[in-house]
Amino acid sequence: MIKSLLYKEWLKIRWSFIGLLLVNLIVVVSICVSLYNDFKFYKPNQIYDGVLSWGYVFYIDLMYIPLATGLLLGVVQFFSEINSSRLKLTLHLPMKESSSLLSMQWYGLGLLVLIFIIDAVIISILTSSYFPYEVVNSFLSISLPWFLAGLTAYIFISLIFVEPSWSRRIFMAVVGVGFVNLLFSNIIAMGIEAIFSRTDLYFFIITILLTPIILLAGYNYKKGIR
């Protein structure tokens, strides 16, 4: 049954998923081309100096892409369920409602992680071909909060759409914006060279622990709370 439910989710979001994957790939490829051009037009020691001493982040164009990807995938996946009360069809399926809701949510998270891993792997390979290991490490540390922001945005979108009460939706939206802001706050406070901090990790763990709230939202939906 779970397999069939995931088949439905795939049919629902496959074009959006492919579109978002393409957008991510276009951004990543443009970063590669741009770095290639940098090495073509400047001396390597100038670029090393820029990256290592002056904090030049050649992959800055990626910064808000995971956030936008998480938001859009969440909207496409869950708006379709809420539109015309289709969630009733899903919750009427002969399986545990908790399994249905969590499967949908974790399936979306899985697809997002797949996109983000592809982004990270391509940029890591590119970075390692031009720079020492430390720069690759620095890329992963700097970009991790961006990817976590994408996953956090997706989780909050899923909660907001399934929850029927407007007051709770607004509350979740405010908390979600706050969490995403905190993931970007190091960048705002310390500049782009800010690296992934332990606080970011704590906020992300808290967000992951919030995923079962979708069960409460589903319960409220079933109770007909407005």
């Binding site: 629902k12 015309s84 009733k88 919750l91 009427h92 399926l93 002969p94 399986m95 079933k222 109770k223």
Partner: protein
Amino acid sequence: MSEAVVQVKNLTHYYGNRLIFENFNFEIKKGSIFGLLGKNGTGKTTTINILNGFLKQTSGQCLVFGEDSHSLSPETKARVGFLIEGHIQYSFMNIKQIEKFYSAFYPKWKKEPYWELMSKLQVSENQKISRMSCGQRSQVALGLLLAQDPDLLILDDYSMGLDAGYRRLFIDYLTEYAKAENKTIFITSHIIQDLEELLDDCVIIDYRSVLLTMPIKQFLNEFKLYKCDLLDSVSSIKKDEVIKNSEIIKNKASFYSFTGKNELETHLAKLGIKHSELHQVQMSLEDAFIGLTGKY
């Protein structure tokens, strides 16, 4: 005594401070076709939502196959076919994908009735549901319900958006299926005339109250329309135990009542209403429904 598939006991529901209905009671017996009739806004969809566990009632009890409707087990859900108002389905699927999707959930799945209905539509297997007309979508929804082979079908306004042909097709299939397989159906519709030949029992609700619960044949036999000419000028006549509703246009009067002609004659005489040529007129279910609930 027949087994009750649905039992509604003292059901009361409020939206905020607005009372929708109070102490609503009915039972749906196994194998019967039960209609919930009422004007717009009287609580038909509210009742369906409570029955399907998509709305928690303010008080009272609603049992489906003996289970609380708000916490139905997956096994019981598999026995209940549910049609959402407007024939809503997963419109991003095509007709082949949706059949494949649902078939994994229902142990008694029979794909033949679904594909029989789809063949009548003359659409390809790759036809996306979102690109189908409302009538075609109703056939997809009906086909999926029949393939599910549920013991109880709950149909929320199946007639919404359908022309006469599709409504007839829907009812014909439903009637044949229900009678042949001894299935139980709970149905609401705003087009009463289609239900006359279909229903066994009905409950008629009005704003905040239940007007009657009885077999449809009994209702049509016992509820009568009388017409007469008024000899004096009368602007309106109040409802009472005998006169359930009345209409006066110029000197022509219509009375709806559960009593016989003689009792009505005596009652009109008591009220001092002078009239001539009181006679009974045949009514359809729609006439009787309007007679009982009124036009407004």
